[in-house]
Amino acid sequence: MIEFRHVSFAYETGYPVLQDVSFTIQEHESVGLIGANGAGKSTVMKLILGLLFPSEGEVYVHGIRVSKATLADVRKMCGFVLQNSDSQMFMPTVKEDLLFGPLNYGMSRKEAEEKADAVLEQLQITALKERYNHRISGGEKRMAAIASVLTMEPSVILMDEPTSALDPYNRRQIIQVIRSLSVTKVLTSHDLDMILDTCQRVILIGNGTVQADGPASAILRDQKLLEANRLELPLSLQKPVL
């Protein structure tokens, strides 16, 4: 469960990014955070993970208030796929990156390797296992980054633009994987078709506040609302022009 209670945040004083944002995400829910560039989606994710702290209000994860003192507990529950995969992978090889999390949380090497193999299999990227992180493509890196998060079996998964940079096949692959996960999921994306495919609920952020919060099928059909927030109907819901 993730809860925002009257959260405000600003990177620089005088330029608020979020103002009085409140919402609650239940366990096992999958929620799409949408909004224009710079609306504050990544910021919301960083607040959940305690990479940033609200200037006002509180953030709770599974009932624990996110603060300096609770960081370790909160982060243990959360897996985060960063918008920039280059920053996510820091070990020399993909395999070692996948092992890093599980080993840190006390899994034996053998268990961790089995886990890594299973995840690679699940994402169909076993071929990347022994590759060096600096020698794989952007999209491959993204797949590997997602794998590195899945190996940790988090109970909350946060993905910032998981499908950007992916080719259509890998995009479908990721959508399948996201759908198959039964944990709490929060995704951001400008790929609204992906959101429609994977999320029951959508939170639309704009002008620093929650503009809309409700079932994905309703919000993503609301052309006026979307366009007011610099978004468009998902392709699959657009009427054919011809």
Binding site: R75, S87, F90, P92, N104, Y132, M152
Partner: protein, 269 residues
């Protein structure tokens, strides 16, 4: 590929070297770290005129290059920026230290030449030893070993981050120089007027990247501790460490080369 990218590639290649397989790679990081540290101390401790003494110490890198599949050439290539500095530091010795070493005909060779030679041998030996350590051991294994000998975790994290940060920094340089040259195709270097903003941007960007990297380490449970490496054949590593450390001490306190020389020539020189 621009210059920065080339450097970057070389930097990453150290990781790849460390990922090879050889008897030396298989020794535990702790044993290699210990051997290297003892070696460095012993080499540095030789008297500045004791050329035969330090020469004997070259035995260690010589054998390890052979065993690990790395070559001395690679080492010199990677360390090419450091060596000239060392030679520069010693180049004045022959002129400052004019005590006579030996005389050929009417030319007397000063002891300064001897100490320059010792300095160069010492430099080559220590640089090779460090290269052999990082070329056969992964950085996280080295950090783990440092933790095991109770080096403060703050310091170890710093080493690890510096290592990662260097690659982040060079990556940013590579991207930024490319971006610059794409928009200033006729220029050779980067114009002086742009240096300030270029540097400022570079620092900000690489700090941001480093912060994200560190965050993603934290998010995957990094606490400054390293999961203990489990390696089989730890008795072999132990023997490796013990044998080498004894050899170093022997070479340090017994003038082996001189004794061999005396035996071979019957002490008639």
């Amino acid at each position: 590929m621009n210059k920065a990218e080339y450097t970057l590639r070389e930097f990453y290649e150290m990781d790849e070297l460390a990922d090879r397989r050889s008897p030396v790679h298989r020794f535990s990081a702790l044993s290699k770290l210990a051997v290297t540290v003892v070696y460095l101390f012993v080499v540095v401790s030789f008297d500045r005129y004791d050329l035969t003494g330090v020469l004997a110490m070259a035995l260690y890198p010589y054998l390890l290059f052979a065993m690990s599949g790395l070559t001395f050439g690679m080492c010199i290539h990677k360390m090419r920026y450091i060596l000239p500095l060392l030679i520069f530091a010693g180049i004045f010795n022959p002129f400052l230290d004019r005590n006579v070493w030996f005389v050929i005909g009417s030319v007397s060779v000063s002891k300064g030449w001897l100490s320059l030679a010792v300095l160069i041998v010492k430099a080559v030996c220590t640089v090779s030893a460090v290269f052999l350590l990082i070329g056969t051991t992964k950085i996280d294994a080295i950090c783990g070993a440092l933790r095991r000998i109770h080096v403060p975790s703050m310091l170890v994290t710093l080493i690890l981050l510096t290592y990662r940060y260097m690659s982040v920094l060079t990556e940013e340089v590579a991207v930024m120089t490319d971006a610059y040259h794409l928009r200033a195709p006729r220029q050779k270097g980067i114009d002086v007027s742009a240096w300030g903003s270029f540097l400022g941007q570079l620092i900000l960007r690489s700090m941001d990247r480093a912060r994200e990297l560190y965050a993603s380490m934290l998010l995957r449970g990094y606490t400054g501790e390293f999961p203990a490496e489990k390696q089989k054949g730890d008795s072999r590593s132990l023997i490796h460490a013990l044998v080498w450390c004894s050899v170093f001490l022997l070479l340090r306190f017994v003038p082996v080369i001189r004794i061999i020389g005396t035996l071979v020539t019957g002490g008639k020189v």
